[in-house]
Each structure stands twice: as structure tokens, then as C-alpha cells.
Amino acid sequence: MTTKTAGILALFDYLDDVEAALETIKGRPEFKDHILYSHTSYHELVHHAEERYGPSQVRWFTLTGALTGATTGFWLPILCDLDFPLIVGGKTPAFSSLPPNVIFIFELFVLFGALATILGMLWLGRLGNPHARILDNRLMDDKFGIFVPGARVDGEEASLLKSQGAFEIKKTS
């Protein structure tokens, strides 16, 4: 979000207002690029997002990470043991000790899966960006916001949102 697009931000107090507004603006071309802001992840809103953007791609990250982890967990002990085959507890190394390998498969499955999930979240949510644009300080408090890029405060979009219950329309540049 380094390129700052001008537009308007409609601020809402109530969840049902936002929901109604979203229903209203759904499919309208002037609201094509609108961005919804919320202070928490109300189901209703997330549901809208799912409809709009499709299912989150984080799951592929998770799957890839987890499978990489499991593979690493399987081969790491075996390769290490084969590299320097010492007799431990009366047993020849490597393949005779598969049961404990399960632990490494599992642990690395979880570890790599979790790391990949986080990476996915950061990447897809464009997080880790110190120059993120904060449209309004109240958005993470108790307000909802709908940002409509390209719209003007006195435009049609503004009045539509206002009619849906936005208590304030703010111009952002």
C-alpha cells in the first residue's frame, strides 16, 4: 500500500449497518475496489470477505510447510545415523530405530507447518509493512470502515454509504 490512493472512508458504529452497507454495495462497479475495515473478525464480515476473495490461500502454505517438515523429520535421523553409524543400545543404526523417527516427523511437521502458516499470513495479508497506511485511529477501536478508492466526499458513493448508517464520511488522500 505504498501507492496512496485517494478516496473516502465511511465510518460505521454498528455491525448490522456495515453488513447492510456491504449487501448494498455488493456488485456495484464503483465499489469494486472497496476495502472493509473492522476492529475484530466478526463472522459476518469474514464471510463476506470469503465470498468476495475466495478461500484464503494460507492453507497451501501450511500444507507445503507441514509436508516439508515431515520429510525432513523422516530423513534427518536416518541420514545422520548413516553418516556415522554408531551402535547404540545394542542396535545397529538408521533403519532399526524407526519408531522414534515418528517423533521427529511429527515435531518438524508441526514446526514447519506453523512457520509456513505464519509466513503465508504475513505474505498474503501484506503484513510486516512498516509503512502501512492507517486511515483512521478509531478503526482498531470500535468502529467499522469502508474505504472506497477514487470516490469523493460529495460523491454518490458517499451518500449511499451515509444512507446505510455511516456516521462519518472522511476524505483520505
Binding site: F84, P85, L86, I87
Partner: protein, 187 residues
């Protein structure tokens, strides 16, 4: 930001210090350690200390083709190869090259009944029980670990002498009776 850069630089320098030769002894150190104190040979291959005299291995083993074990005679029957006693030197040098300065030095030492103190080059940590005997018995030449001494004057460390290096060779020679169990060298 400037302060941050200086700080980062300081941390980097400190880390490098910790990894470098001298300081590693510090962070590996603990009071009164006896196994630890001469831990890994930090110096590695290339270590070439000064010796009391520049003994020319190249003349003895190279030009004159003397057998290594003529002087290092303990290698085949003992754990250490042994540095020859002065009487071995004086066996020849009572008559050979007596006019050279180094020979005068050892002749003087021999007369005074004083040993020559050499500096150990190939030094393993104290917890390694290396023995020359099995290696010589298995038919390895000295050069495989000590390098082409017949071309050198005084000895410099040739092999890295790290455990990985030992293990690598032992793994390749399992058929000759080399072992990779830990108590081959550590007990």
C-alpha cells in the same frame, strides 16, 4: 539510526571475536577444566612453529633417502613416533658436517648432557588416545598424515587433525581393521 549502526557493528565484532582463535578458548573455558583446556586444535593445518634448529628433513629423508623410522623408530611399536635422542644424531654427526652451526649446537648439547626441547607440531587434544603403532602396522605411509616431509625443512601441520578427518579415513579403511567405535580413540 547512527547509534543503531554502531551497535550492530559492535555486536558483529564481538561475535567475530568469540569465534576467532583466541577468544574461543575464553568462551569454551570453565575454571579448572582439564579435558577442555586443550580442546580442539584451533590452529589447524599450516601450523609451523620455530624449532631450536632448522632440522632439514629434506636433506635426511629427501636427498639421503633415509627411512623415516630410522630416527622416529618408536612409530611402529609405540603410541608416539618419538623424536630421536641426541645419541642417534651423534651417531653420524660425530664425523659428518661437524662444521655447521646446528651440528655444533647439538654437539654442545650432547656434551653437556642436555636434551633439545622441540616444539610439538602435530598435537592432539589430551582426550584423544592416538597411537602410531596400528597405523604403521596397517601399512600407512607417514606422508599420508604428515605430508611430504622429504621436501620440507622443519615440520608444519599437514592434516587438519579434526575428528571428522580421522573418521573419514577410518570409514574408508574398515576392511583394514580400522574402527569407528568411540573408544578406539577416547577412553
Amino acid at each position: 539510526m547512527r547509534a543503531l549502526k554502531i551497535l550492530t557493528a559492535a555486536v558483529c565484532i564481538l561475535v567475530c571475536q568469540m569465534i576467532s582463535t583466541d577468544a574461543k578458548a575464553w568462551w569454551m573455558w570453565s575454571p579448572g577444566d582439564t579435558v577442555e583446556n586443550s580442546t580442539q586444535s584451533m590452529i589447524g593445518s599450516g601450523y609451523h612453529p620455530d624449532q631450536p634448529i632448522d632440522f632439514p628433513h629434506n636433506i635426511h629423508a629427501g636427498n639421503l633417502k633415509m627411512d623415516c623410522q630410522y630416527c622416529h623408530s618408536a612409530a611402529r611399536r609405540s603410541q608416539s613416533a618419538g623424536v630421536p635422542p641426541l645419541n642417534t644424531c651423534m651417531g653420524c654427526h660425530k664425523i659428518v658436517a661437524t662444521d655447521k652451526d646446528p651440528i655444533k649446537y647439538i654437539a654442545e648439547k650432547y656434551k653437556r648432557n642436555e636434551p633439545v626441547e622441540w616444539t610439538k607440531v602435530h598435537d592432539l587434544p589430551d582426550f584423544v588416545r592416538f597411537s602410531h603403532k596400528p597405523h604403521v602396522l596397517a601399512g600407512f605411509t607417514c606422508q599420508e598424515c604428515h605430508g611430504p616431509m622429504q621436501e620440507k625443512v622443519t615440520a608444519a601441520q599437514h592434516a587438519p587433525l579434526q575428528m571428522g578427518w580421522c573418521i573419514g579415513c577410518h570409514k574408508d579403511n574398515l576392511d583394514k581393521g580400522a574402527k569407528i567405535s568411540c573408544n578406539t580413540c577416547h577412553y
